[in-house]
Each structure stands twice: as structure tokens, then as C-alpha cells.
């Protein structure tokens, strides 16, 4: 399977990437790890005229501590996240999440920026960025801005990114009491249901992916939570339009969501 013809440009700065996006508009696509984009191009679901490879931008693959926050460059691979000492000690929930993405080869190429920008409804990171209240740092022709995770995901493969914007980094608060629970699609290993839970004092933040066409904060669970985990988990899909596909119909998916919220709350 061979994609339609395209031009390829490897850039060395964010500005260069943004200028190309501005110049080519819809016909340009950012290329990071390529592990969502290249398969889609091979199937001709996507046929950009020019690929703008951002993998060589200096510093966009760093993981640093900034006071009480951890800043992760958009080009960090899932493997870099799994293996980062800083993330394992200060943001363990993200390492847990990255560890269950795809397989080792996919983790060696795919990036956090690419996964968030792609916004696959079955991707893992969205649950965790939501539960952690992470911030997505982006840059476009009008400069830099920061988007709260809760404002970022807008629908299936749809985000708050403008056409000329790229994600440069993701900023997380340090989280010590979090965990991620996932029910795998048996072949691709994407999430049929993925639940991230962050506990703070007596309250809890719950992010859910795979269940609806947009990942969401399960506010009904958060409000019902009082340490009585079983009951709060029953609210996992309150007010949510649950997806139905050949992996799981809506009824089964709703059931799984409740079971995995319960597991994550009790873990």
C-alpha cells in the first residue's frame, strides 16, 4: 500500500512549521511519529500535498521539571515517557498510560503531541490529560497560547487546534495519587474503555476515553464520590452518548465503563 504523492519538508523550528501550515493551509499536514498519519495515508483516507516533519525541532523532545509542573515536549515518544525517571517519580499515571499504548514498536515512534492532535476517540492519553487537568501549549501564526485539557477535545478527530497551530508541549501538575485502567481492543490494543483517576484529599478527578466520540471528565462520578467507590462508579456514563461499534455495543461499553471506573477508584 503506497500513499498518494506528496512533498516532504523537515523543519528545524516551530516558526518554519507554522509558516508552512500558513502557506499551504489544508494541503499541509504535520508529521511527527507518523503512526496515525502514515497508515491513514496508505489507506488514502488522508492525502496531504506536503508533510511538514517536526521531529527534528530542537528541544521539542525534552521532559523537564518547572516548579510543581512537568513539561513534556510534543515530540516525546511513548517509550521516552515510559522510561523517564522524572515521570515515573512525579507523574506515574502518565507512565502507566503510555505503557499500555499499542506495542513496543508503536511506542518507539508515536508521540504524545501526535496522539493529542489526532484525537482518536480510543486513544489513551486523553483520559489522563483530562484527569490531571493538564494544559496543552500550542503555537501558531498569532503566537503562543495554552489550552486547558477540558477545552481541547471537541469531537471525533477534532480538537481546539487552529489550522496553523502546532502543539509544542504538554504541561502537567505533579500527580502522585493517580492510576489508569484500560480494557484493550484485542487486535490493535487501542482502548475500548480507558479510565484515569487522580485522587486529591477527599475528592477525585476522573477522565474517560473510548466510551464516547469525545473523551470526557466524568463529573457525575466526581460529584457522587465520597469514598464509597462502588456507588460513584455507577454514574460513569451519565449524560454521555455512548459509542457502539464491532468491539462493543453501547450497552456493553457502558457496563465496561462502570467496571473500569470502579477499578480505577479502588486501585
Amino acid at each position: 500500500m503506497i500513499p498518494a504523492k506528496f512533498d516532504y519538508k523537515k523543519v528545524s523550528s516551530v516558526k518554519e512549521a507554522v509558516d508552512l501550515l500558513d502557506e499551504y493551509g489544508y494541503d499541509a499536514k504535520i508529521l511527527s511519529g507518523g503512526h496515525s498519519l502514515i497508515p491513514a495515508m496508505k489507506l488514502r483516507l488522508n492525502r496531504p500535498e506536503i508533510l511538514v516533519d517536526i521531529s527534528g525541532i530542537h528541544g521539542m523532545d525534552s521532559i523537564t521539571e518547572d516548579g510543581n509542573e512537568i513539561v513534556i515536549g510534543a515530540n516525546c515518544t511513548h517509550s521516552a515517557i515510559v522510561n523517564s525517571e522524572l515521570i515515573n517519580s512525579e507523574l506515574d499515571i502518565l507512565a502507566q498510560t503510555a505503557k499500555c499504548i499499542g506495542d513496543v514498536q508503536v511506542r518507539n515512534r508515536g508521540t504524545i503531541g501526535g496522539s493529542l492532535a489526532h484525537a482518536d476517540p480510543s486513544a489513551d492519553y486523553p483520559a489522563t490529560v483530562l484527569a490531571c487537568d493538564a494544559k496543552i501549549e500550542v503555537e501558531g501564526k498569532n503566537g503562543k497560547r495554552t489550552i486547558a485539557a477540558t477545552d481541547f477535545f471537541q469531537g471525533i478527530f477534532t480538537t481546539a487546534l487552529e489550522d496553523d497551530e502546532i502543539i509544542t508541549a504538554v504541561r502537567f501538575p505533579k500527580v502522585t495519587n493517580g492510576n489508569y485502567q484500560k480494557f484493550f481492543q484485542s487486535a490493535s490494543r487501542f482502548a475500548v474503555v480507558g479510565v484515569a483517576v487522580v485522587k486529591e484529599g477527599g475528592s477525585v478527578k476522573v477522565g474517560i476515553t473510548g466510551v464516547s466520540d469525545t473523551p470526557y471528565r466524568a463529573t457525575a462520578v466526581e460529584n457522587a464520590y465520597s469514598g464509597n467507590t462502588g456507588e460513584a462508579a455507577d454514574h460513569a456514563v451519565d449524560g454521555v452518548e455512548v459509542m457502539s461499534d464491532h468491539f462493543a455495543d453501547a450497552e456493553y461499553r457502558s457496563h465496561l465503563a462502570k467496571v473500569f471506573v470502579k477499578r480505577a477508584l479502588e486501585a
Binding site: 504523492k5 523537515k10 507518523g34 502514515i38 513496543v104 490494543r189
Partner: protein
């Protein structure tokens, strides 16, 4: 576009179309047909090679993305006529039947053992999640990798 890639220690330079996959480049331009293409859609792992030391699926990497990188394919594992310990272990443990998946299995095994020289059976199975085998039932592949670890660790 002109690219220059080090494959199995040798530097190659070619003018390629951006849409050519690395797997295609290895097989069709360099004639290194040990890297197999099974699904061509990132599912089966038959095309696994190492890129700067890490296992990746070469069907889902453009040759232009590997410009300036070091690639090792199954052809680069043996030392002259002496098989690599992972290859020897596959031979001794009946780790292959038809052999179609084997180059990808060996390259993934190299990544597993690089990061974890003494993996448990469970860790090996977790490491092989991206590699399909239609013949062996995996049992002897896992055994081969365990045995390879013992050989390498002496």
C-alpha cells in the same frame, strides 16, 4: 529527495520519492529482502528493524524519515557466518516454522533484551505484542528469547 542511511554499518545514499516506505527501500532498492512485509499496515511486526537501536515497524516509516539514521536489519545480525545468539537460540529451540515472522521476531527480541537483559516469560510476551506468528503458537519463540538471554549473559 536525497537521503543517506547507514544500514548494517554501511552508508547508502539514494534519491527516493518521499512516499517510499523504509521497508520498500530496504527490499527494493538495497535488495535486503530479509525484512518481510506482511500486513503493510503496522499490525503484524514482520517488517521490524532497529532504528538507532530501537525496534520499529519499517512499513510505517518513510525512508526519508530515516535519513541520517542507523538501521539494523536481520541481515546485520550475524557476524560473518557466525549467527547472532538470538538467531542461534531460535534455531535450537524450534522458534520458527515457516519463518515469515522470524526476522521481525528476532529484531524485536534484540530490543527486548537491550532494555531488559534478563526478561521473565511475561515480560517477553508483553514485548512481543506487536509481532504476529501464524505457525508456532509463540511458545517456542518465547523459549528462544529466554534461551538467547542466557547465552548473551553467559
Amino acid at each position: 529527495m536525497n537521503i543517506s542511511i547507514t544500514v548494517n554499518g554501511k552508508v547508502y545514499s539514494h534519491d527516493v520519492e518521499p512516499r517510499m516506505s523504509l521497508a520498500q527501500y530496504l527490499r527494493e532498492v538495497l535488495d535486503l529482502t530479509g525484512t518481510h512485509i506482511g500486513c503493510d499496515t503496522t499490525g503484524c511486526g514482520a517488517c521490524t528493524i532497529t532504528l538507532d537501536g530501537n525496534a520499529v515497524k519499517s512499513c510505517t516509516l518513510l525512508a526519508v524519515q530515516a535519513d541520517g539514521c542507523e538501521v539494523t536489519t536481520i541481515e546485520g545480525m550475524a557476524n560473518g557466518h557466525a549467527m547472532h545468539p538470538i538467531q542461534e537460540a531460535f534455531k535450537e529451540n524450534h522458534g520458527l516454522q515457516c519463518g515469515f515472522c522470524t526476522p521481525g521476531m528476532v529484531m524485536t527480541a534484540a530490543d527486548i533484551l537491550k532494555n531488559n537483559p534478563n526478561p521473565t516469560e511475561e515480560e517477553i510476551r508483553h514485548g512481543l505484542e506487536g509481532n504476529f506468528c501464524r505457525c508456532t503458537g509463540y511458545h517456542n519463540i518465547v523459549k528462544s528469547i529466554r534461551h538467547a538471554a542466557e547465552k548473551i549473559n553467559g
